[in-house]
């Protein structure tokens, strides 16, 4: 777990640092502080907590202080103020040797321009962290080989970095970090230097690895779509200050200010929002024991033509149509039962992005059903709810 409280960094200025921090605290903006003190406030009073196993994205434009922020976390840059705790251990008190041990054993880092050792092979690059730790050769070779397999580069172990493409180089960078077997991974714009297609691949790779390995990741990016795609939570940084902290859908639904709103306006919502974000309580849900006449009346009230039927554990059994109900009511059936159910519906998992489900909307008499792994009905996605979410209309659920 990483906990940061009131983290600040001021560049330059020597004795002016305290003054610059005081001015920044009074809300004076960065350019004015620089004019008055000569010091640049790169990061100011940023507080956040990264939970174990979380993929935490820090997002900001160039000059927002995001690269400085990630370097404060392993003290590649010394903080000017505030505290950082890694698993409850305060970082600022560590001596040189302790700090090196912490960097080597607890956290590893992936860099924007890969930062591989050009005179070493891919395998030796992947071993680097372990070599520094003094791990015996055999063990570190095995470990590096495992890491290279994870990123799909095991067959290029003998190559030199300059023989690889950009995407492959960053896979080596990732393998080097994974081989070190640290629980914290700091990633400083790792995919920014890659082509868009390769970037998508690498994002998918990271998502897959993260599902298996559950590292605590701090991921820096300037690309909001990337942030939304990857981040469990996103911290938006502007001029060194925290603007908003929340999950992607939270930020989309309620931007903290005009700056964020402007920013999220060109996010591809169909990829960020999932079925879970737009699902509604179904208006009518029937059970096999219900009387057809009652269900028909409720359907009429909801102006719907069919209803989902669930069992006592809320598991989805099927759909009952209004014409069947009308017939059953006229013949005096006491309960719906299960023989009248039809499969005239579609389902989706709650974590599916909207882009995957829009094609299935509006085809049936009932809205799209959202079901969990056990087949329980969590809610429904009417077409209007998706359109409202895409049009950024506040959802009143």
């Amino acid at each position: 777990m990483i906990e940061c409280r009131d983290l600040s960094k001021v560049f330059g200025g020597g004795p002016a640092v305290a003054e610059a921090l005081a001015l920044a605290r009074d809300g004076i903006d960065r350019a004015d502080v620089q004019r008055r003190t000569g010091a640049t406030v790169a990061v100011h009073d940023v507080s956040f907590t990264v939970e174990p196993g979380e993929l935490f994205v820090v997002m900001g434009l160039s000059g927002s202080g995001k690269s400085t922020l990630v370097r404060l976390l392993n003290r590649l840059i010394e903080p000017s103020g505030g505290s950082i705790r890694i698993d409850g251990r305060e970082l600022s008190g560590l001596g040189d040797a302790e700090l090196r041990a912490l960097r080597n054993r607890r956290m590893s880092m992936v860099f924007q321009h890969f930062a591989l050792l050009p005179h070493r092979t891919v395998q030796q690059n992947a071993e680097y962290g372990l070599q520094i730790r003094g791990v015996p050769e055999r063990e570190r070779q095995e470990r590096a080989r495992w890491a290279l397999e994870q990123v799909g580069l095991a067959d290029r172990a003998g190559a030199r970095p300059d023989e690889l493409s950009g995407g492959m180089k960053q896979r080596v960078g990732l393998a080097r970090a994974l081989a070190s077997d640290t629980d914290v991974l700091l990633m400083d714009e790792p995919f920014s230097a890659l082509d868009p297609l390769i970037r998508r691949d690498m994002q998918a790779l990271l998502i897959r690895l993260q599902k298996e390995l559950r590292k605590t990741i701090v991921f820096i990016t300037h690309d909001l779509n990337e942030a939304m795609r990857l981040g469990d939570r996103i911290l938006l940084l502007r001029d060194g200050r925290l603007v908003q902290l929340g999950t992607g859908p939270e930020i989309l639904a309620a931007p903290a200010n005009d700056y964020v709103a402007d920013f999220v306006s060109d996010v591809d919502r169909t990829r960020v929002l999932t079925a879970e974000d737009v699902l509604r309580e179904p208006r009518v849900v029937a059970r096999p024991a219900d009387r057809p006449a009652d269900v028909l009346r409720r359907l009429g009230g909801a102006e719907a033509n069919g209803a989902y039927v669930v069992d006592d554990e809320c598991r989805l059994l099927g759909v009952i149509r209004d014409d069947w109900l009308a017939h059953a009511a006229s013949t005096g059936r006491a309960e719906i039962g299960t023989e009248g159910l039809v499969a005239d519906f579609a389902t989706t998992e709650p974590d599916r992005p909207l882009i995957d489900i829009v094609g299935r909307l509006g085809r049936h008499v009932v809205p799209l059903a959202v079901v969990d792994r056990e087949g329980r009905l969590l809610g429904v996605v009417p077409r209007a709810a998706v359109l409202a979410a895409l049009a950024a209309v506040p959802t009143g659920s």
Binding site: R105, M107, M109, L117
Partner: protein
């Protein structure tokens, strides 16, 4: 304008040095004499054919066929001019002077790269060392070490240190800062970073510096003939004083041959090691070895 007796002060300082620490110069003198004599006698002792073949082989391995042929013919020519011993004397002197210069210059360069203050102080000193007319070095050198090989080596060494310092500093400063940062991020000790990241990545620049050291040493070693350092310097100086065109040309040509040989050899090691036969042989062997290990690991699986 009052006359500032700057030269007088330096003279007095030199005399003072001589009076106060005479033993130090004797020790330096003894060590250098042994070094130079060991190397030159090793170069001269066997029949010249042996060394011609060794140098040719070195040329072949470092650079390839063309350079090997040049080396063979050029050194046979030197032998036929009856300048073999003198040339080997000079080579020995250059080797000793360049080795000492590199041993002093590279660490100074590393220091300058890691310490801005050191860099600022060293820069004018290096300028001074490089631009002072070469003959001027000989005067104190002769004062301290008398006539002979040692003042020649000392003057040559001092004259050829600057490129080693400069190019080492440049090379280390030129290492991609993100790679150094990555090494820090993985918890490397500054010493590990120097040894495993900065020096290997600065190696081409450092080797270029050593190449320059050798070339400067060679140019100086001829001038050192004035102090009686022996070798080709003596041949050239003798030819100049007697206006002997024939001896002057032959001595000069031998210097040129040695210069081209040393320059191409060290440049090949610095820039394009992949062109040499040595590297090609290694390359041919490497895939075979790799195949062998992969087969070996495949068997138990």
């Amino acid at each position: 304008m009052p006359r500032i007796e700057l030269g007088e002060y330096v003279d007095r300082f030199i005399s003072w040095l001589l009076r106060t620490i005479p033993g130090v110069f004797d020790v330096i003198s003894a060590v250098m004499t042994v070094l130079v004599e060991t190397i030159t006698s090793a170069l001269i002792a066997p029949p010249f054919v042996v060394w011609v073949l060794v140098l040719t082989l070195a040329a072949l391995l470092a650079r390839g066929i063309g350079f090997g042929v040049f080396t063979l013919l050029a050194f046979l020519l030197v032998a036929s001019l009856d300048l073999w011993e003198e040339t080997m004397d000079t080579l020995g002197l250059v080797i000793v002077a360049a080795a000492i210069a590199a041993a002093v210059g590279v660490p100074l360069g590393i220091w300058a790269a890691r310490n801005r203050g050191a860099s600022v102080v060293l820069r004018p000193v290096l300028d001074f060392m490089q631009t002072t007319p070469v003959f001027v070095y000989l005067i104190p050198a002769v004062f301290f070490f008398g006539i002979g090989v040692v003042p020649g080596v000392v003057a040559t060494t001092i004259f050829s240190i600057p490129p080693a310092v400069r190019l080492t500093e440049l090379g280390i400063r030129g290492v991609d800062p993100e790679v150094v940062e990555a090494a820090h991020a993985f918890g490397a000790h500054p010493r590990q970073i120097l040894r495993e990241v900065q020096l290997p990545m600065a190696l081409p620049s450092i080797m270029a510096g050593i190449n320059q050291v050798i070339m400067l040493a060679l140019s100086m070693v001829v001038v050192a003939g004035l102090a009686g350092a022996g070798g080709l310097g003596t041949v050239v100086v003798g030819a100049v004083t007697q206006l002997d065109v024939a001896a002057g040309f032959e001595g000069g040509l031998a210097v040129v041959i040695l210069a081209i040989f040393l320059d191409r050899l060290t440049a090949a090691l610095a820039d394009q090691p992949e062109r040499g036969l040595w590297h090609r042989l290694q390359r041919r062997r490497a895939p075979r070895a790799e195949r062998a290990t992969s087969e070996a690991t495949a068997v138990p699986a």
